[in-house]
């Protein structure tokens, strides 16, 4: 495989002046989606900054008030660490939105510590270094890319040792924290467009299915998350109707409660 990093050099060498025809191939204007028998089951869970970017376009957001970079509790249960990893990576995206370099660097180190705790630290070390360097240069695009790479590497490493279920929990942790912050922002200044960003019923269904498929992780935390997702579903799975301000507030309460449970050691 040709490394992605070499592509610009290759491009320079490859200016062959080819003439191209543009334009998409003829595609039917309509298809019957109920008859799509061959589907790819893999889901690429959107990054928190995908929704944050859309939110930014609706008006200024004070991201600084959502930055969280504390050291946090240490855990030994692998499912909890996986959820926390996803949450902390989401915190990294929030710190990038706030352009808070010290917080980004703290979060990079926290991610590395958690990854070590779950046995996948080696694959994260170069990313943690790259996050720190990019934050020092305030190169926020590079930090975003490295955070995505970090999450991808963590999940690849988990998949390599047949820990796909933990990999799903990383995605879920990130989604929950991202949704908590999204609802906090929209709750503060409600708009229908902002609330519409919560219209993610298929993604919710995906996470519910994944949780149902991990009965061996029979912890109270995962049960609470499953119950919480069940409470969120009727608030967002409403077809073409608008998601109300009350629903946004309720989803914020649910996701904030779950997030608190993820990051806090139970008595």
């Amino acid at each position: 495989m040709i490394p992605f990093a070499q592509i610009p050099q290759l491009a320079a060498a490859a200016m062959l002046g080819l003439t191209l025809t543009t334009g998409a191939a003829e595609a039917p204007q309509r298809i019957d989606v109920t008859k799509l028998s061959k589907r790819v089951d893999d889901v690429v869970v959107p990054l928190p900054n995908e929704v944050f970017g859309a939110l930014n376009k609706l008006g200024p957001v004070n991201w600084k008030e959502h930055v969280r970079s504390g050291k946090g509790s240490n855990f030994t249960e692998r499912p909890r660490i996986a959820l926390l990893l996803g949450t902390v990576i989401a915190d990294g995206f929030i710190a990038v939105q706030a352009e808070d370099a010290p917080a980004v660097k703290d979060i990079g180190q926290r991610v590395l510590g958690l990854a070590k705790g779950i046995g996948v630290g080696n694959s994260i070390t170069p990313h943690a270094k790259a996050i720190t360097e990019a934050a020092d240069r305030r190169n926020w695009n590079n930090v975003r890319q490295e955070l995505d790479r970090t999450q991808n590497s963590v999940q690849q490493a988990m998949n390599d040792v047949q820990d796909q279920k933990l990999s799903h929990l990383v995605s879920l942790g990130g989604w929950l924290r991202g949704t908590e912050v999204l609802t906090a922002v929209v709750n503060k200044r409600y708009s229908e467009d902002g609330a519409e960003l919560l219209h993610q019923p298929d993604l919710l269904g995906y996470f519910e299915d994944r949780l149902r498929a991990m009965p061996e992780f029979n912890s109270k935390l995962l049960q609470d998350i499953q119950a919480g997702l069940g409470q969120v579903r009727p608030l967002v799975d409403i077809g073409n109707k608008r998601i109300s301000a009350d629903s946004v507030k309720r989803i914020n309460e649910i996701t904030a409660r779950i997030d608190e449970a993820i990051i806090t050691k139970s008595p």
Binding site: I2, F4, L18, L20, I31, V40, L47, E50, L55, D193
Partner: protein
């Protein structure tokens, strides 16, 4: 400055030369992903963040597969598809949850590269349909990556 499409074509020409010596048996979805990323590379300069995660597999000629993806109104997305089989022709198209084609007219297809551009009119699930239109291989590896801004 070359348009992203022309840059992609130039890269394609060089990559085809470089990868021509790879036996088919050694080719893989990873190679297909390299080509999908090739198609994406010019758009990074235009501010698109290309995701590390991707979809991939293999398909026979004439076969299609649907990928479902959550998209957010307010963002702009490109989906780039590639295969290492240089004589293959592939396509990618985007439909909304009702089955209506929603891609922008600058979506494009060129032999073993294809790309679809969408500015989602609503937040929700969309279907990305990938297809191997023609190929000299029985099964053709494909990969699909996406980026947003």
């Amino acid at each position: 400055m070359l348009s992203p499409l022309k840059q992609t074509a130039s890269l394609a020409a060089l990559l085809s030369i470089l990868l021509a010596g790879i036996p088919a048996s050694r080719a893989s979805v990873d190679d297909a992903q390299s080509f999908a990323l090739q198609a994406a590379e010019p758009y990074v300069k235009e501010g698109f963040q290309v995701r590390e995660d991707f979809w991939g597999g293999d398909l026979g000629t004439g076969e299609k597969k649907a990928v479902r993806q959550q998209l957010f109104k307010g963002n702009e997305y490109w989906f780039w598809m590639g295969t290492e089989v240089e004589k293959a022709t592939i396509s990618v198209h985007i439909y909304d949850a009702e089955g209506k084609l929603v891609e922008q007219p600058d979506s494009w297809q060129k032999s073993h590269f294809a790309a679809a551009h969408v500015i989602p009119p609503t937040t929700g699930s969309y279907f990305i349909i990938v297809s191997i239109e023609s190929s000299p291989e029985d099964r053709t590896h494909w990969a699909l990556v996406y980026g947003f801004r």
